[in-house]
């Protein structure tokens, strides 16, 4: 049996519930992506049910640990291929092993989740440095990103504290949504790809200063673009002020 769900975390937890109560899941797929028809298995749409999702979330917290519940959510926000089945296997193992599951680094089901979580954490940390804001005409700070993983909610605590006096927007262009924040309050809402923005007058000057400074800081005797790319993969270059021509 293949399950199709609506790409929400609650939807995924509902699938986990059905895995237990009705039929074993052999694959769980989001209905937002392209689903490759599988002639050997039945596919069934799973209707998201908050009550069933709560039961599963609660069970994970009680039988495994609160930390693992948070971990399941973090891994759900990654772009890991087949993350749903990997998480399902992790949860099943967790129900058997209890809170010590996180110590079983050598177990393939644990390792898969752990690796995905590491990549996710690394991107969140990296983006804390790589989001570039521009000042808009009305004083709001606006920054666009195209992250691999769905990191917006995880960037919020860091930036909300840092820029508590400035209203700001972080726009995830890949997923068409944005983080809106002001004075430590934040929410995530849809925001179109083509949202146009008008920059403030001094924005161009500050950018020019920053680009100049960035160029000056290179020590020519140590020129090493390969090392630069290692830290700063090309997929992040698009929105970095200092790397725009």
């Amino acid at each position: 049996m293949n399950y199709l769900y609506d790409d929400t975390f609650e939807g995924f937890l509902t699938c986990v519930w059905h895995h237990w109560r009705t039929a074993r899941a052999e694959g769980i797929f989001s209905d937002r992506g392209v689903y490759q028809l599988d002639l050997t298995r039945y596919a069934q749409s799973v209707e998201t049910d908050q009550a069933k999702a709560d039961i599963v979330a609660d069970a994970i917290e009680r039988k495994i640990s609160r930390w693992d519940a948070a971990r399941v959510y973090r891994v759900f926000c990654t772009n890991e291929p087949e993350k749903e089945m990997k998480l399902l296997r992790y949860i099943r193992l967790g129900f058997k092993e209890g809170p010590k599951i996180r110590l079983l680094h050598g177990h393939p089901d644990v390792l898969a989740v752990q690796k995905a979580e590491e990549r996710f954490g690394a991107e969140v940390h990296r983006l804390c440095g790589l989001v570039r804001f521009s000042e808009l005409a009305d004083g709001i700070l606006y920054g666009a990103i195209e992250p691999d993983n769905d990191v917006l909610a995880f960037l919020a605590p860091h930036f909300c504290d840092r820029f508590k006096s400035d209203p700001f927007v972080i726009h995830d262009k890949r997923r068409g949504k944005a983080l809106f924040a002001h004075q430590r309050k934040w929410e995530i809402a849809a925001m179109g790809e083509d949202a146009s923005v008008l920059f403030s007058e001094r924005e161009a000057d500050i950018r020019a200063l920053w680009k100049q400074y960035f160029g000056v800081m290179e020590t020519k005797e140590r020129h090493n673009p390969k090392l630069q790319r290692q830290f700063l993969p090309v997929r992040y270059h698009k929105y970095l002020t200092e790397l725009q021509g």
């Binding site: 010590k100 110590l103 079983l104 680094h105 050598g106 390792l111 940390h125 804390c128 440095g129 790589l130 989001v131 570039r132 804001f133 521009s134 000042e135 700070l141 920054g143 860091h158 504290d161 840092r162 820029f163 508590k164 006096s165 400035d166 001094r202 000057d205 500050i206 020019a208 200063l209 920053w210 100049q212 400074y213 960035f214 000056v216 800081m217 290179e218 020590t219 020519k220 005797e221 140590r222 020129h223 090493n224 673009p225 390969k226 090392l227 630069q228 290692q230 830290f231 700063l232 970095l240 002020t241 200092e242």
Partner: protein, 466 residues
């Protein structure tokens, strides 16, 4: 922004980039002012084309230097354009960069404008505007100008997260020769004051895992460096000194929390490698002494890039000794995170680090009698000494061992670098290395397979030593 800012930023950024420290770590603070916070792990914001990170806005307040240090781009006798930031101009620029998330904070250094005290007053003015007027809570790293008065240093420490005094060179003689206006005592006395003040505040923390240090390490001298002040430091260390060398800070509860703490991210220093004849043994021993005596957070090494000509200096054609710098950093990591002592890494017979192999492998090859180590029985300290096994892997091995025996496949998944480690460990009594068990055979398997390159580097190395 004024028109001149563009040019000033160019000239003063250029002058500051030879300071290698760029870390923004060590301070953890939420936004208790109006703008900014500090993340304990530090955050890198971009990387320049030389692959080095930009975390802080690293600039000089001024490059109009009164000193004539022979190795420096901004020495009095050099023909460069001179300029000086207005304190407010630099504070404005910092805030604008910070709001756009270009930077994590400010790294402020300066040439000596007139006298050390006058320079530090101007630097303090800029930092004060940032902290008090703009409510800036981001990271600030301030360079201490040797010869500054203790009172001013106290003030600087209260507005900065990290302070650093540059050693410049690994020995007093070299300093005397190349930077005659800077005296070793002027460098050590602020270092001591910073450590002492942090001791009084109970905020002194050792670097990395140096809490692991064994007690016999505490009496390390300053080696061949012959730098003065060893006696005074020893007094600080064992508590027999008067304890009054740090300027006491009376806590004033009305002040904002960030002002109550003196340099919460500790102090660092840096020294230039390859311009002077010191051996790696001297350099590593000196680093160890700095870590132990002053509880420095970091000692940075900077491969000398010839920017000036002179009979005392290597020729302008000398390439910077990058490989040597890299090996020194590896040795530095062994000191801070692996519980090694300087005299274990290097000895009088081998005073230079091996360019082809990392210092941990070299140490293991000299101590084959301690290997192979059985991963399921060895102590934490023994595990840490296996080449290819780091702190994270050790932690994972120890955790898994409580549940199940660690197998060779597990090691791979835990992140152990088996390419090196397999020669030095056994898993469940089985050895996975191949070839003969003697230093030269192992060496041949571990060294990189490119004789031309290593020959070239050996020559380079020789040139620099001479």
């Amino acid at each position: 922004m004024e028109n001149g800012t563009f040019e000033k930023l160019t000239v003063l950024g250029e002058g500051a980039k030879y300071d290698v420290s760029c870390s923004s770590s060590g301070a953890d603070r939420t936004n208790i002012g109006r703008l900014g916070n500090a993340a304990c792990a530090g955050i890198c914001h971009t990387w320049t084309a030389d692959g080095r990170c930009v975390s802080l806005l690293k600039v000089l307040l001024s490059n109009d230097c009164a000193y004539d240090c022979k190795f420096c781009v901004n020495r009095r006798s050099a023909d460069v354009k001179r300029c000086t930031f207005e304190p407010r101009e630099l504070a404005d620029l910092t805030v604008e960069f910070y709001r756009r998330n270009y930077i994590e904070g400010l790294f402020l250094s300066s040439a000596v404008i007139g006298s050390p005290d006058r320079t530090v007053e101007l630097m303090y003015k800029c930092l004060w505007i940032l902290r008090e007027e703009y409510g800036f809570c981001g990271y600030i790293h301030a360079k201490v100008i040797p010869g500054v008065s203790p009172e001013l240093l106290t003030q600087m420490g209260l507005v900065s997260d990290r302070l650093s005094v540059n050693m410049e060179f690994p020995s007093g003689e070299s300093l005397d020769r190349l930077a005659p206006q800077k005296k070793p005592a002027q460098i050590f006395s602020p270092m001591r004051q910073i450590t002492q003040t942090q001791l009084e505040q109970r905020t002194l923390k050792a670097a990395g895992n140096m809490k692991r240090l064994r007690p016999e390490g505490l009496n390390v001298g300053l080696g061949e460096g012959n730098l003065p002040d060893a006696r005074a430091r020893a007094e600080t260390e064992d508590g027999s000194g008067d304890g009054g060398t740090g300027t006491a800070i009376v806590r004033d509860r009305r002040r904002r929390a960030y002002r109550e703490r003196f340099a919460p991210a500790g102090q660092t220093t840096q020294m230039i490698i390859g311009a002077t004849p010191e051996t790696d043994l001297q350099i590593v021993t000196l680093s160890e002494a700095l870590y132990r005596r002053f509880s420095m957070k970091r000692v940075y090494f900077s491969a000398y890039i010839p920017v000036a000509e002179g009979p005392e200096l290597p020729s302008l054609l000398t390439p910077p000794p990058l490989k040597r710098e890299h090996r020194l950093y590896q040795a530095d990591w062994l000191l801070r995170f692996y519980g090694f002592r300087a005299d274990e890494i290097l000895t009088d017979e081998h005073p230079f680090l091996d360019v082809d192999l990392d210092p941990k492998v070299v140490w293991a090859l000299r101590h084959l009698e301690q290997f192979p180590v059985e991963v399921n029985r060895a102590s934490e300290e023994e595990l840490l000494r296996i080449p290819g096994v780091g702190n994270t892997s050790v932690y994972r091995i120890l955790r898994q061992r409580r549940i199940a025996a660690v197998t060779y496949d597990d090691l791979k998944k835990m992140g152990v670098v088996l390419k090196r480690a397999r020669f030095f460990l056994t898993a469940n009594e089985r050895y996975y290395g191949d070839g003969a068990w003697d230093p030269s055979a192992l060496r041949a398997r571990l060294a990189p397979q490119s004789p031309q390159i290593s020959l070239f580097e050996a020559q380079q190395h020789e040139l620099l030593v001479r």
